[in-house]
Symmetry: C2
Subunit: 437 residues, 2 copies
């Protein structure tokens, strides 16, 4: 009734204000006006303390700017579009490092000027690159942008012949989308067919693993690329369904636990690796699955997403003593070997907020709103910096700020604004529905 609506409106208004403030913080402090791209190592008050440019975070910031520009009227501003385009160009010019081996890899980290510093032997730089390029394709129809990007593609094609499955393209309005899809196709091959191109040696003591992050990221990309496009939806239908199956393999111990890594056959792995739980990550998988299930009208998957990937990780991960979600746990109760296991990180809380609010929006089960409220109370009383804006990222188990920067090698313009954006839209939907009622 009115009480519930008032509560939801309170959440929505706070979240809306917070999103405005967070966007302003990054617009003001993170843009490199000299070389383009984004600084992400930002002190408590926004000062740059390191000029390295982390490719994950470059891609995520381009994606987030474009998504806000495309879907929220108050962010449909030239300033935001221009920042996204400039970041996209930086990525297209500098992210690829052909020297790291055929068929080329995106670097993990670049100098301010764009020289590669480090290349990871994983798929994630490329994943965030695809997210960025696809969302950029959706907001740029202008001829200028196309011409710029086409020339970049030509340069890359010359440099790297067969580095990537670049189709030689004429200037067309689908140039970015086609490029994003070609990288996506490479990612699918790395994960499903042959990981050799990633550069990790295959060692007899280390058989291939189904790591929760990989099918999650690919599923996220399928959703990204397919949105509103029938042909692309068809093209990636089977990949999407494979990703869901791979994610479901992480439900273990007779359905009582989500484990972060399992064998390719879906069996529990030995030792610490096999017993590791990352509740925030499972919760993120939960809302990815729920979104997919709703789109496909799959009610069983909807229940699994909520019961297995939201309720269980929350029960496991919530710190009964100090509140907040623990970073890592061992399913048998051993102490994890990760030094940071007991810290409270911002992003698992972001994922939990999205997960429980999305689940509540679907089912209207009051217990799910209570879980959202519980996470909301901890999150908004611990993470936002009331002095300089934006959120702290890393708290001790007891809830004190342990690392006071706003951005770092793994914290950029992504989890906080994505959470606030998703929650604002979900709350708008709920409030609209309650007005209609």
């Amino acid at each position: 009734g009115a009480m519930a609506a008032e509560k939801l409106a309170g959440y929505r208004d706070r979240i809306r204000r917070e999103l405005d403030q967070v966007v302003d913080f990054w617009l003001k402090h993170s843009h490199d006006k000299l070389y383009s791209g984004f600084f992400t190592c930002l002190d408590q008050d926004g000062k740059v303390y390191d000029e390295l440019k982390y490719v994950w975070l470059q891609g995520r910031q381009v994606w987030m700017y474009c998504r806000l520009y495309r879907t929220m009227e108050r962010f449909h501003r030239d300033e935001i579009l221009e920042a996204a385009k400039s970041g996209g160009e930086f990525l297209r010019r500098f992210a690829w490092t052909p020297s790291a081996g055929s068929p080329g890899k995106c670097a993990f980290c670049l100098t301010r000027e764009g020289q590669p510093v480090k290349v990871q032997r994983t798929i994630f730089s490329e994943c965030f690159y695809v997210m960025a390029m696809d969302e950029l394709a959706r907001v740029t129809g202008d001829h200028d942008m196309q011409v710029k990007f086409t020339s970049v593609i030509e340069v890359l094609s010359t440099l790297t012949v067969s580095v990537l499955p670049f189709r030689v393209l004429q200037t067309s309005e689908r140039v970015l989308q086609v490029h994003a899809e070609s990288v996506m196709d490479q990612l699918v091959r790395w994960v499903r067919v042959d990981p050799a191109g990633l550069g990790r040696p295959q060692l007899p003591g280390s058989p291939p693993v189904n790591s929760l992050a990989e099918p999650m990221m690919l599923l996220c990309l399928v959703e990204q690329l397919a949105e509103g496009r029938t042909d692309v939806t068809d093209k990636y239908r089977e990949v999407g369904s494979w990703c869901v199956q791979q994610i479901l393999q992480h439900v273990q111990r007779d359905g009582t636990a989500i484990l972060e890594s399992v064998s390719k056959e879906g069996k529990e792995l030995p030792g610490c690796q096999g017993r590791l739980q990352n509740p925030g990550h499972a919760l993120e998988a939960g809302w990815f699955l729920l979104q997919y299930a709703v789109q496909h009208g799959d009610e069983e998957l909807q229940r699994t997403a909520v019961d297995k990937f939201m309720k269980i990780p929350f029960q496991t991960g919530w710190d009964q003593e100090h509140g907040g979600i623990l970073y890592f746990l061992d399913v048998d109760g051993h102490c994890p070997t990760q030094l940071e296991w007991s810290m409270k990180l911002w992003w698992p809380h972001c994922e939990a907020l999205v997960a429980f609010l999305m689940a509540y929006s679907q089912s209207r089960e009051p217990a799910l709103l209570d879980l959202f409220s519980q996470v909301y109370d901890y999150t908004f009383s611990h993470f936002p910096d009331t002095e300089h804006g934006e959120w702290f990222g890393y708290l001790s188990r007891q809830g004190s700020v342990e690392l006071d920067f706003k951005g770092g090698p793994f914290k950029g313009f992504f989890h906080v604004p994505r959470c606030l954006y998703m929650c604002e839209r979900l709350l708008d939907g709920l409030l609209e529905a309650s007005c209609d009622a």
Copy 2:
């Protein structure tokens, strides 16, 4: 006077008891009687919680057992020698992974049975391998051992032709020593001539770095290999002196700070990497340098070791509020990006104890004994587990136990017993001298 001697005797007795207890803990819990080698992932009470065998820790345990066997009468026991030999054989059979690229690399981590799980693109597995093999060479003169090792070398030679600069050896009593030296020579080439064999791609944004750990480890190996051997001392004289120069390059900011990474030319590097301080590591470098300086009668280096590599890191790293030595710091006072920067780890405290006691033994400067006492009080009131023996490794900034295991991927039978062993000997020396006085 008598007061001081009494204090020193108190330290010595406690340290001696502690060393006995720590040795017993690892003898009892860490031996794999089925496949040989050592389990290092040991719970609070010694139970194995993961069967992976970390090569650094295998090598360190072999070294430590041999050193205790060789130099301390109460540890000159068959049980200890046999454990060291069996660990050494495990290493010799399984550590090398030719498939990781020519000229072969030691794995970082093996399965219980000895299959390679992970190979790092650094020098450290090989360094601890050399330490182990050299110390093993010093304690095994028996024919049985020689025959076993020779056959292993033959197998390896067949497998890997030119993988390592194995000289084809007849059974001789110097077989292990020669092997250790040949790996050492490869290490020196990797660090000084060509790192390509380590497998890290050279990237234009990431010029080669002088990382404190590399010259420290090589200096430690020079001391290890040269002990009591005139020819080897001559062979590695220039390498040792080069290591010292490389370590001294880390004195920066007009002599007011030790930085963990500098350029190959000894200049400060940009960003977080350039500003990083690891006080425990600098303190360890301090006693390596002091030991070297004393051996070479270099009084200037002796002063530098104490003033720059001990007093400065301690002033920087000691937590005025909660006590104990912080793990990482930024020289300009920014927050480090390492999530664990504010934790109190056992090993920096071990290194500080050795450093200050060694420095005091040399100079008899009372302030250095005070520093030892300050670290001793924190260490012995926080790290030892009075219930199950051995030491906790990882405390929060406030000093509570955050990870309760006794051994893990980076904590084995090394820093604690090496510290106790060195301190016991130093205290014996001091007490003997005070009796003579």
